[in-house]
Amino acid sequence: MENHHSHTKLMELILMTYAQIKPQLRCQLEPTDTGLTVTRHGSSYDISGLPISPTLVSKIFTQFNGERAVSEVIEEHGSVSIDQVGMIIDSFHESGFLIKNVAADSTTGLGCLLELEDLQNKLMYETLYENVFWTNCQNPEGVPQNVFYGMAIENYHFLFRESWFDAPILGLPGSIDARVLMNEFFCEEYGHDELILKSLNELGITREEIYRTVPLPETLALCNALAHWAATDPLFFFSTMGVLEGKDLKIDSYVSAMEGSEKIDDKFIKYIRDHSNINLNDGHGNLSREIFKKFPIVSLDEVARLKSKTHLFIEIYDRFYSAIWNHYSNSSTLLRLIEH
């Protein structure tokens, strides 16, 4: 009984391993008197000692086109057992004559991004859009002047470090098309910090001073988180770009809040508005999407992993804005200059 039981178990395992896979033959087969001649890329190999007749092997295996399950094919050849075919599949597989074609559940790059965007939106509506910075911007007249200026300072620090966090991704080997797009984007982004600096100049802040200024830790944290992901998890990095470039925005709420507050000189707003319009008009918000379209396949395990990390990203992004409010609404000075 015991024996019979373990035999059944083994058969179940074999069935599980082989019956449902849809292998794909990647060579030509020619039965000979003693076995098979296998030809691949112009090289031929002779195979003998097959557990079933070479003609039958050839008949069965030439039907493995990546579309038909093993069980379906061998049903047409009554006398053949699945474990015999399984043995040959294994040996062909390890010789590179056939791929097992065990497809992980997957989606396309675009399918992956649309799922991530859905989660990003949910989390942003729940947290970021409800945070102290953005809720206060709804009533611009109550926003202290320094918060508007502080936002520009921190935004400058962020844009100034764009090469810092984009650089690791510029050599991306996983997709040639995505790399080309990313490089184009980087070239367009280059120098945007200078626009913000012009606004800061209007407040009397000089380049020399800003070079000696410490960003809020939350700002540098955002830059470094992005640099880390660019170097270690390119797909995740790309997924953050839609959020950072304002995919879902049609106006820049920060610019409108400054305009509505009636306490900020238009000379200051002007350059920030120019920068914001570049992003809106150039469709930089769509960059994530264009890039993800270049990735033909993403496994569902990978999608799940990226989703779980999305929580962390939105938390870090949320803290970036909240920190601006918390610091600049309570600080009479604008610059955190290094002391020595």
């Binding site: 065990v102 649309l114 050599g171 996983g174 395990d301």
Partner: protein, 335 residues
């Protein structure tokens, strides 16, 4: 930058979107992302209802919708953009490209055949050939060891960057193990080289041959910048050959090189075999669920060039260290 706004082929409301069209007012709800759209400009409300129903089923393309409702196709585009801005539509027609395969399939069906055919094309190693026919010199054998020393010395730095990537637990475990096993072997190599009278202080200052450096640096760059190429390249560095070791020992003995020179070297190579280092590429690639066709090709490009560089390295060892009076140390000291 030419970034299109037409992302969708067949737009479809996300699961959970509800809508109500009443008195020329369309109310769409989805979590907190809903909207009200005033449809007074759209004369034919029945036809607009069809549009919304089509978005619910996801069966029509944007082009079809615009054609069927040509009288307000511009408004339609605006409405779709607004829906997208709110994040309430997805794509019902995702196009899957062919040619992707699992890491395991890639390993057996593309990587191994690519390595084999390239190694076959390039033929035997010049050094191996010289060891076989007895024409190898002491300097060439010592030179081989000197170049190998650089690989061992650089190893932690080459492997290290691979540990920073986002990988699963099995891959992480394998990479950590590799890192730990390769650690400190440079000390052993220095002992080998001092057995043939080479001074440690000089070895520490020496420069490798350009071909050695290029091959090793490639491995490190892949570890940092393209993990799948790194996984695939490891097999080229971690496959010991008993045949090579035996011939190497014989050649050393014949030239009266001390056992303190060749024994530890061969032992290190055996460590690689005991630890099954040569299986590492297959074991790592087995953990990768899918690799797109383009990325497979990128890996094969890197691996083909690396095989060629390793072949050039072998040739350069024979040439450089074969020259009478060659500078074994290659120390370019400006201090």
């Amino acid at each position: 930058m030419d970034l299109s706004n037409t992302l969708f082929n067949k737009p479809k409301f996300r699961d959970g979107v509800t809508w109500n069209l009443e008195n020329s007012n369309l109310e769409v709800e989805y979590r907190s992302q809903g909207c009200d759209i005033n449809c007074q400009d759209i004369a034919n409300i029945d036809s607009f209802t069809k549009v919304i129903e089509a978005l619910e089923s996801g069966e029509s393309t944007v082009q079809e919708l615009k054609k069927e409702h040509a009288s307000y196709s511009d408004e339609l585009e605006g409405i779709l953009l607004e829906f997208d801005r709110l994040g309430i539509i997805e794509e019902a027609d995702l196009v899957h490209e062919s040619g992707s395969m699992s890491g395991e399939d890639f390993y057996y069906s593309r990587l191994l055949p690519c390595i084999e055919s390239n190694q076959y094309r390039l033929g035997n190693s010049a050094l191996y050939q010289k060891m076989l026919d007895g024409s190898v010199s002491s300097n060439q054998l010592i030179g081989f060891a000197l170049e190998y020393y650089h690989l061992v010395k650089m190893s932690p730095g080459l492997i290290g960057p691979s540990l920073g990537h986002e990988v699963n637990e099995s891959v992480r475990g394998q990479l950590l193990k590799l890192f730990i096993e390769e650690y400190d072997h440079d000390k052993m190599m220095i002992a080998c080289l001092s057995a043939v009278g080479l001074d440690e202080a000089a070895i520490l200052k020496r420069q490798p041959l350009p071909t050695s450096f290029s091959a090793y640096a490639s491995l490190g760059v892949y570890a940092r910048q393209h993990l799948l190429s790194f996984f695939s390249a490891l097999i080229l560095f971690e496959s010991p050959s008993h045949q090579f070791n035996d011939v190497f020992i014989e050649a050393c003995k014949k030239l009266d090189l001390p056992s303190g020179f060749y024994k530890p070297l061969v032992k290190h190579s055996d460590i690689n075999e005991d630890e099954q280092h040569d299986a590492i590429t297959g074991n790592l690639l087995k953990e990768i669920q899918c690799i797109s066709l383009q990325e497979q090709n990128t890996i094969l490009i890197h691996i083909t060039a690396l095989i060629e560089m390793l072949h050039l390295q072998d040739q350069q060892i024979v040439e450089y260290y074969g020259k009478p009076g060659c500078d074994l140390l290659r120390v370019f000291d400006y201090a």
